[in-house]
């Protein structure tokens, strides 16, 4: 053995370590510079041709920084009643009647109250409640909301089984079931009816399955008074000055990693009344069985969870599209009618230059698949711009920001800026929609021509009424087109916003639909609109028709109205304006199809119209009373009336305690939990791991160097 060897090894080791560190430091310094230069945020590369001053953040101190993190404490739902839903929908012509059975099963040994917040179509007329306890059935009665709540609370404290169905929003309802015994199951059956949507030659039925987490703007309010008749709700949000009932519309959402809950079965019996070209379910797998020439039985595939809207589409054979329909019902000496008429298609209008404001929701709820859909839709919409048009893009989350300070003429340069801007959009933060809406409607326009606002959002907000007020007050000559994005959009918001905005709404539920759905919207934008629609019912007839003001009709949209009269006239005359010219039509109302439930649809339309007036008119008490009267007369659930069912005999003795639990719901498909509910930030870097790994590698290299030298020498000796 050569004694010099260990010395050289030590020397070379030291040498190696020193060079390692020196090079390491040098390299790191170079990397610092390099990465500092290259580590531009994603947005910056896209905005290469724009200075920071071009970007316009709209500062409104009263709106910014509110609402994102309005949490109540943690909730334990491991012992909450377990829910299962069975849905049966019968569609006859244009009317759908649905039965929703909610099974509340108590998995625990204690007594429970289950509170379930769920969605229904926004025009659903809920008129029946039944509570099944074993073999017994208890029929629910409609009561004024306060009264119903009082009766329910009374029964609850007396240990009687009771259930209550209340309306929070036109499309959000709450079922409460009290005194579910240990390991017992109670079934709540709700029935509702509504009109299927008919647009651009296609019939559409939506059944929403989950209330998506709503953003609650505003400052928290502390309850002034708490009493039994005033249920404050037990959602994840606290009530705020802008959303007074936030706690009632925010059911708890467990992390999706914990698995899907709330299974749904569904059966649809469809009798369209004409032969069909095709039937499709947009987002779910279904089994289709043809029963007769025009009748079909559709069954939802097993293992479906309530985590996204169900949509059924059916299209008549070419030439069989109905152009007019009349359904009637006689009830209590009154005639009720549902009238549908499709105005004849107009030729494409001459192309006027327009001003288009695109508004895109980039809040946390849009994160995931929704933002992808919204961006794709926005890019398509940008491609529709023509020279002579002016445009701007507004994005909003906790803040509102616009691409240009003022709408810019369409040029290759501005289009490129816009495309880059859209590409760089990321979804995070709150949903402060009001400033964005104001900015979109308020921007002064140089031309007095066509002004369109295309609004892409999932509508996951709790302050709908405030937003509707803004639209009504500030619409001016703009037209608002809502594009509902994602798996569970707020259909009430989309619909009403488009109504007040004198535009239309479009739904996009998956990326594959973007092209097709946007094309329908572009067609509508290109064709003349039928406006100022007036109805003449004939002399000496008092007809109460709802809606009172017929909305503007875009291409493919039918006139839809309900009427009540002591006798309906033979013919209905309709006039309107299209491209500046008067348009006339008439429709025969004799020999319509008899159908039960038309009166209910009429009452629902009336309530909807009155609810709109409630927000804008002064004589609120009067209107409120009219809503209550209509709802009570037609046995309907409304904002001011609820259905309540109470068992006669007490089931729970006073000594046993009752625990109230809000029932958890799924996070809608495609949503990202952390982006909505937040997460404590990631606050560690990998630096130590890198350093340790680097050291280990160096040491291994050294050891290897030492041993391999020995090894090769010995090996060479042997050879």
């Amino acid at each position: 053995m050569n004694l010099q060897k260990p010395g050289t090894i030590i020397l070379s080791t030291l040498h190696c370590i020193i060079t390692g560190f020196v090079t390491g430091t040098l390299v790191s310094c170079m990397l610092v510079l390099l990465v500092m230069i290259l580590s531009e945020p994603a947005g910056a590369t896209a905005m290469d041709d724009m200075t920071a001053a071009d970007m316009n953040r709209i500062e409104d101190p009263s709106h910014v920084r509110q609402g994102t993190l309005l949490f109540k404490g943690e909730q334990d739902f491991s012992r909450a009643p377990i829910l299962k839903t069975d849905v049966q929908i019968n569609i006859t012509g244009m009317i759908a009647r649905a039965t929703v059975k909610q099974h509340f099963r108590n998995p625990d040994t204690t007594w429970k109250e289950g509170v379930y917040v769920f969605p229904l179509p926004e025009d659903a007329a809920v008129d029946h409640l039944r509570m099944y306890i074993g073999q017994r059935v208890i029929e629910g009665r409609v009561q004024e909301r306060q009264q119903a709540r009082k009766e329910y609370e009374q029964a609850k404290s007396e240990g009687k089984k009771a259930s209550l169905v209340e309306q929070e929003r036109p499309n959000i309802f709450t079922t409460s079931v009290a005194n579910i015994g240990p390991h017992e199951e109670i079934i709540i059956e709700i029935e509702y009816q509504h009109i299927v949507q008919y647009d651009s030659g296609t019939f559409r039925l939506r059944f929403p399955m989950v209330v998506a987490p709503r953003y609650i703007p505003g400052q928290p309010v502390t309850p002034v008074e708490i009493n039994v008749t005033k249920f404050e709700g037990n959602g994840w949000a606290v009530n705020t000055d802008q959303v007074r009932d936030a706690a009632r519309i925010t059911p708890p959402v467990p992390h999706p990693d914990k698995g899907k809950i709330n299974p749904v079965t569904m059966q649809v019996n469809l009798d369209a009344g004409f032969s069909l070209q095709h039937i499709t379910s947009s987002y779910h797998n279904i089994g289709i069985k043809q029963e007769n020439e025009t009748g079909y039985k559709l069954t939802l595939e097993n293992n479906t969870s309530a985590d996204r809207d169900f949509e059924l589409i059916w299209k008549p054979e070419p030439g069989a599209e109905p152009r007019a329909a009349f359904f009637n019902e006689q009830k209590n000496g009154e005639h009720y009618g549902l009238i549908m008429m499709l105005p004849p298609e107009q030729n494409k209008g001459e192309i006027l230059s327009r001003e288009v404001i695109y508004v895109i929701d980039t809040s946390g709820s849009m994160s995931g698949t929704s933002i992808v859909q919204a961006k794709a839709a926005l890019e398509l919409a940008l491609a529709e711009l023509k020279p002579g048009d002016r445009f701007n893009i507004i994005q909003f989350n906790s803040f509102t920001e616009q691409l240009f300070q003022f709408p810019q003429p369409f040029t290759h340069h501005s289009l490129r800026q816009a495309k880059n801007y859209v590409r760089a959009l990321r979804a995070q933060g709150g949903t402060e929609m009001a400033p964005a809406l104001q900015a979109a409607l308020h921007q002064t326009s140089e031309s007095s021509g066509v002004r369109q606002v295309i609004f892409l959002t999932d509508g996951s907000i709790g302050n709908e009424d405030e937003l509707f007020r803004i639209i009504k007050q500030q619409l001016g000559n703009s037209r608002l087109f809502t594009v509902g994005i994602g798996s569970a959009p707020n259909s009430h918001f989309m619909n009403r916003a488009a109504d007040f905005g004198r535009g239309t709404y479009t739904y996009i539920g998956k990326v594959e639909e973007v092209q097709e759905k946007m094309q329908i919207l572009f067609n509508k934008l290109q064709h003349p609109v039928l406006t100022d629609i007036q109805l003449t019912w004939g002399d000496n007839l008092t007809v109460e028709a709802w809606p009172q003001k017929i909305p503007d009709l875009y291409l493919g949209e039918p006139l839809l109205l309900t009427a009540k009269a002591s006798s309906l006239p033979e013919t209905l005359h309709i006039t309107g304006t299209v491209s500046g010219k008067t348009w006339n039509s008439s429709m025969k109302l004799s020999g319509g199809k008899e159908q039960t439930g038309i009166s209910v649809l009429w009452a629902r339309k009336k309530i909807a119209a009155l609810m709109d007036q409630l927000n804008s008119r002064t004589e609120q008490d009067e209107i409120r009373q009219m809503i209550i009267d209509t709802a009570l007369a037609h046995h309907l659930v409304s904002k001011f009336t609820s259905l309540v069912a109470i068992d006669v005999t007490p089931a729970r003795v006073k000594e046993e305690l009752l625990k109230s639990q809000s029932m958890p719901v799924n996070l809608p498909t495609g949503w990202e939990y952390e982006k909505v509910f937040g997460q404590l930030p990631q606050t560690a870097t990998g630096s130590e791991l890198f350093l340790i790994r680097g050291m280990l590698l160096l040491v291994t290299g050294l050891l290897f160097a030492v041993f391999s030298r020995k090894f090769t020498r010995c090996y060479a000796c042997q050879v």
Binding site: S28, L680, S687, L698, F704
Partner: protein
């Protein structure tokens, strides 16, 4: 042939292993270098902010800006806090959580930082220690630490709004964990010192 082949592998490893080591050490030191260097650049941006400029970007392509300065007199610590607690801003300084109360505003002010760089000092803090926040209008708020605890990352109610004015500092826990991404967090809660009914 086999001998030459073996030699090739040996030589290859002799070159590759130290190179990889150097690369990894480089990455590790880069994180620290960036964290330290950025704070120097932020000083300039912060003094601009104190002069009344809004959202001063420390370097032209930054997507964040300084919002306040956090100091701990006992430890001689001073950190410029950035807007937002996204990964990209936390690399340069502690981040003020988007949506929480801004410094000096009524409510819960939440600031997060990396446990191995800017917020490493959190482990040395004790209940009763003073923390100061310098706000963008030049004002100073003095806080006293009232509570220190270890929580799980899902306990987001620590971010919730509060009726009271508090300061919440968050970092990852344990401090000496080797890899990032653990579920535990270390939080420090401080309440403002009040004199004559006014915050000082």
């Amino acid at each position: 042939m086999p001998v030459r082949f073996k030699k090739l592998i040996v030589v290859g490893l002799l070159v590759v292993l130290p190179l990889c080591g150097v690369w990894q050490i480089g990455l590790g030191s880069y994180i620290h270098a960036k964290a330290i260097l950025a704070q120097f650049l932020l000083e300039t941006a912060w003094s601009e902010t104190l002069k009344g400029h809004k959202e001063v970007k420390p370097w032209p392509w930054a997507d964040t800006w300084p919002v306040c300065r956090l100091t701990v007199p006992r430890l001689g610590i001073s950190r410029i806090v950035l807007a937002g607690a996204s990964g990209s801003s936390l690399a340069f300084g502690p981040g003020h959580l988007f949506g929480s109360a801004t410094s000096g505003e009524y409510g819960n002010t939440v600031i997060a930082g990396h446990r191995d760089t800017h917020f490493k000092f959190l482990q040395e803090l004790k209940t009763g220690d003073a923390i100061q926040l310098q706000t963008s209008n030049g004002g100073n708020i003095r806080y006293r630490i009232s509570e220190i605890r270890v929580i799980h990352e899902t306990e987001t109610h620590y971010l919730a709004r509060t009726d009271a004015n508090i300061l919440t500092l968050i970092t990852c826990y344990p401090f000496n964990a080797i890899s990032a991404g653990g579920p535990m967090r270390y939080i420090v809660i401080a309440t403002p010192e009040i004199t004559n009914g006014k915050m000082i």
